[in-house]
């Protein structure tokens, strides 16, 4: 045991491979063959690629060394965390009767969830269970087909190692009014724990759904969440998703979200990241059918030494599609925000209309933001614009507010709030807008009340 632990610390890569072998014998073989093949391919991919280094273009600004230096293991999870419904109120708005699925360490927890009574044959619950009962073949058709393991070694690792997660299926033409909440709680035990929550959301032709994914921790510890979400919007489907990353500020959060849209589909995605010591979120969207629309908005609010990296790739693979991307970062103390916005316009994707904006507000001299657009345009009749800003609060605006009687500290708070409200204000569902706004305000308050003592 000791020997294994020592060896593991020396080579984190080998440690994860060993853990994969331990966990998959024999459970993987009990699963369907198609899934076993995906897992095997994924672990082989991870074995070959290893953890990324800052010498790789996609990881230039984000070193994962702090993460690989800790012996994260599935065995360190809290086996029997005490979680009552009263805990959930912290992370979900109290909506009476609203559908919600809760996952602890990536595993569906029926006792904390409310997934029944959904209309029109909507399915919500455990992904592992959905794999077992995959009557229509929906899971097999989509799981692991969108979030490509070649793109990111963490995605490969998660694809190999996931045990459970969320499955949401909205059948053809069904319109779900009330937001569905998915809550992923990390319950770490004594040692550094890892979990691999996996989510598959499928909105069939003409379906409409609003989903909220929340990632949070039950303890302030250095745990790792490695999450992968795949979202499919078939022709004419409309998916609105909110993603809330509010992990412990000692935790590590690595995630990939990959969506695919059919003809005339619309996905509107709003994410807010306020947690984790180190977070990397790869967001990929394929506009695969003509007339598809995508909104991809995000907000990071960082303090202390937090480092949050958003790596977005919008792939215009069909003509007449529109994408609008707006990411704002509020960066205080010694924190660092990274944004990469890659836009690909495939040959034949004529009449693409794509707009990307990344604005960063630096609240201290030591705060840092890196922003890089990457445009790859292979069609000639397209409109693609991008812009990025970086800097402290606007002095002219500060004076303007002062000249209206507002003291400088209050004026700064107001402008900082406004910087984030530009993103939150775009959320079209009022109750979600309020949910995000509450979290945003609480985060700003916390940052203001307890300025981090960073050496």
């Amino acid at each position: 045991m000791t020997e294994l632990a020592d060896g593991a610390t020396a080579d984190p890569h080998a440690r994860y491979l060993a853990e994969y072998r331990d966990m998959t014998e024999p459970s993987v073989r009990r699963g369907p063959a198609w899934l076993a093949r995906i897992r095997a391919a994924a672990i082989a991919q991870f074995a070959e690629a290893g953890f990324p280094t800052t010498r790789q273009e996609d990881w230039r600004f984000t070193s994962v060394a702090p993460l690989t230096g800790l012996p994260f293991s599935l065995t360190h999870r809290h086996l029997a965390p005490h979680i009552g419904r009263e805990h959930l109120g912290l992370f979900m708005p109290p909506g009476p009767g609203a559908a919600h699925a809760v996952f602890v360490n990536g595993r569906f927890t029926p006792g904390l969830s409310s997934v029944s009574g959904l209309p029109g044959g909507v399915k919500l619950g455990s992904l592992a269970e959905a794999v077992r009962s995959d009557a229509g073949g929906t899971v097999e058709a989509h799981l692991g087909r969108h979030a490509l393991m070649e793109r990111n070694p963490f995605t490969a690792l998660a694809t190999a190692c996931w045990e459970d997660g969320a499955f949401l299926l909205v059948p053809r033409g069904v319109e779900l009014e009330a937001p569905v909440q998915l809550l992923f709680l990390a319950a770490p035990g004594e040692g550094p724990a890892v979990s691999y929550p996996r989510t598959l959301i499928v909105a069939e032709r003409g379906a409409r759904v609003v989903v909220v994914e929340t990632y949070a921790g039950l303890a302030d510890r250095a745990y790792l969440t490695n999450a992968v979400t795949e979202i499919v919007a078939e022709d004419g489907a409309q998916v609105t998703c909110c993603r809330i990353q509010r992990e412990s500020e000692l935790a590590y959060h690595v995630a990939a979200t990959q969506s695919h849209e059919g003809r005339d589909a619309a996905i509107a995605s709003y994410s807010i990241a306020v947690g984790a010591a180190l977070a990397r979120h790869d967001v990929g969207a394929v506009l695969g059918g003509a007339g598809a629309q995508l909104t991809l908005n995000g907000l990071s609010v960082l303090h202390g030494r937090q480092h949050v990296d958003h790596h977005t790739t919008i792939d215009h693979a069909a003509p007449h599609c529109e994408s609008h991307e707006l990411f704002n970062g509020i960066v205080g103390d010694h924190a660092r925000a990274v944004f990469t916005g890659r836009i690909i316009v495939r040959p034949g994707a004529q009449r693409t209309d794509s707009k990307q904006t990344n604005n960063n507000l630096l609240l201290s001299e030591e705060a840092r933001a890196d922003s890089q657009p990457q445009l790859e345009i292979h069609a000639d009749d397209v409109k693609c614009t991008h812009g990025a800003t970086l800097g402290p609060l606007d002095q002219a605006a500060l004076f303007y507010l002062q000249s209206r009687g507002i003291a400088p500290a209050d004026a700064r708070a107001l402008m900082t709030y406004g910087f984030g409200a530009q993103i939150i204000g775009t959320v079209p569902v009022p109750e979600l807008r309020r949910q995000l706004d509450r979290l945003f305000r609480a985060t700003l308050d916390r940052g203001a009340r307890h300025p981090r003592l960073v050496p």
Partner: protein, 251 residues
């Protein structure tokens, strides 16, 4: 209400105001006119306390207090209001939210309880009614994406809500068409009381057809070269500013 004596001010070590004297009492409307670069906007900014302008000589007493002892927000809390020539966008903050923050900052400084959003909405509707405007841009972010005319109107809306003792309108007419000008001027006139005063800074006489001043001052090369009644504005309109210049040198 306001007494400016021998005011000298500079920006980037360049002296713009070279000895301004001006007295404004309650109930009065003063127009400050002058050619481009004469220091009109500098005077307005110095009154509001803009940090880029350094006062090198002279004094300003406002309501019995040394204005230079007051931070910009204290001046506003004490009833001094500058309608900006170039109003600034506050992104992500709606007008309604901003106005409430401003009103509550003033109330707090006076020891009054803050207004909650609903109470404030009532106040706001009442003000809008008083100046005959609708509530169309209350929920828009402050000056963000506004046209030039909308920004100027928004300044006057703030004026209406904050009810200052001394309002300084810095080139509020610039960029306004004749209809917008009339709308803005009517609002300013409706807000006039015997207790408050207005300083209208303008390059053109046009605005003064609608906001009729009691006094007109001509600023040339950073000092007031001539003062008179409203007829002085008409004379300037007819003859331009050039004829003032020699007198300033003699004076």
């Amino acid at each position: 209400m306001l007494e400016i004596r021998n005011l000298h001010a500079s920006v980037d070590a360049r002296e713009i105001l070279t000895g301004v004297d001006l007295r404004v009492d309650a109930g009065e409307i003063h127009a400050i006119m002058g050619p481009n670069g004469s220091g009109k906007s500098t005077l307005a900014q110095v009154l509001a306390g803009h940090p880029a302008y350094a006062v090198t000589e002279g004094s300003i007493v406002y309501e019995g207090r040394d204005l230079f002892d007051m931070d910009p927000e204290e001046r506003a809390q004490a009833g001094l209001f500058l309608a900006f020539q170039y109003p600034v966008a506050i992104r992500g903050i709606t007008n309604a939210y901003f106005l409430r923050a401003a009103v509550n900052a003033v109330r707090k400084s006076q020891g009054l309880p803050e207004l909650d959003p609903l109470d404030f909405l009532d106040v706001l509707q009442e003000k809008l009614k008083a100046i005959g405007w609708d509530d169309s841009f209350l929920n828009s972010p402050v000056n963000d994406g506004f046209s030039g005319g909308e920004k100027k109107r928004n300044e006057i809306l703030q004026l209406a809500v904050l009810q200052p003792k001394l309002a300084i309108l810095d080139e509020t007419d610039s960029g306004l068409d004749i209809d917008a000008l009339r709308t803005v001027a009517e609002a300013v006139n409706k807000l006039r009381t015997p207790q408050n005063a207005t300083i209208v800074v303008t390059h053109y006489q046009r605005l003064l057809n609608y906001i009729v001043p009691d006094f007109v001052h001509v600023l040339v090369d950073g000092r007031i070269a001539r003062s008179g009644g409203k007829e002085l504005a008409l004379e300037l309109e007819a003859r331009g500013y050039e004829w003032i210049r020699p007198e300033a040198v003699l004076g």
